[in-house]
Symmetry: C2
Subunit: 152 residues, 2 copies
């Protein structure tokens, strides 16, 4: 098993970051514009991505835990085979003026090349989350930063 | 043991990317301006970082493997305790117009919070490498993107 880990610090309150992680409007403003569903425990959120105007797939996340201003835990229930069953968590804590976000996608069966790609891409999206909360403007798909030139 | 994985695609030849990974001038133009030493097998390269005008530490990398246009392998011989002994590799392959860089820092003893930080930071620096090779301008320390607001 292998995990993707990241950390960003956001000049903000924990509440503001939590809101961006747990509302459809928030998620759509940093991860992907095409976000549907409801962020409630037991619910499923659908994230869909596009490139060049075409939908290229996405992920369905079941919401397992919601602890206000503290922790969000999802499990991937549909999407690429390598993602299904992995868990995505965001743990929050305040350090001075910054809300620190510890991110983890745990449970990849193998460290395949796609996992390398997704690790870098998560970093880019977490920087989009940081930008959204600090400036009011994120860079969600389809306006996200292309990291590889192929497909995204 | 835990590993940091990333992948970026750079619109370039493998030779150009390899040059940016194996010359003092190249490394200084995407990772840190303060790069000393020589990239030869058995040699040690010193990378030092600063924030707010003060040096905040760095890494000494022993060069273990150099395969032109294909692979670079370093081992950390000095730096933060968590880094010492870890290995850093860059594997290169051409895909169409893009040089794909598979990055790995392997051998972290524990997935500590510092590892989360370093994972995100590596993504930022690999995007700096991509920018350097594609546009001629990278964002090496001390002009790198601050991801956490604390110290860097």
């Amino acid at each position: 098993m292998a995990d993707i880990l990241h950390r960003v610090g956001i000049k903000s309150s924990l509440d503001e970051v939590y809101k961006a992680l747990t509302t459809r409007e928030g998620l759509a403003a940093w991860w992907t514009n095409n976000t549907q569903g409801e962020s409630k425990v037991g619910g499923v959120i659908q994230f869909r991505f596009s490139a060049g105007g075409d939908e290229i797939g996405g992920f369905d996340m079941k919401v397992l835990e919601l602890h206000p201003a503290k922790r969000v835990l999802w499990q991937v229930v549909d999407g690429p085979a390598e993602w299904i069953g992995t868990k995505v968590s965001f743990d929050l804590k305040q350090e001075g003026d910054y809300a620190m976000v510890l991110f983890k996608q745990q449970g990849w069966k193998e460290p395949v090349e796609f996992m390398h790609h997704c690790s870098t891409k998560w970093a880019i999206y977490l920087m989009s989350l940081k930008s959204l909360v600090e400036t009011g403007k994120g860079n969600p798909n389809p306006n996200d930063t292309n990291i590889s030139g192929i497909g995204d």
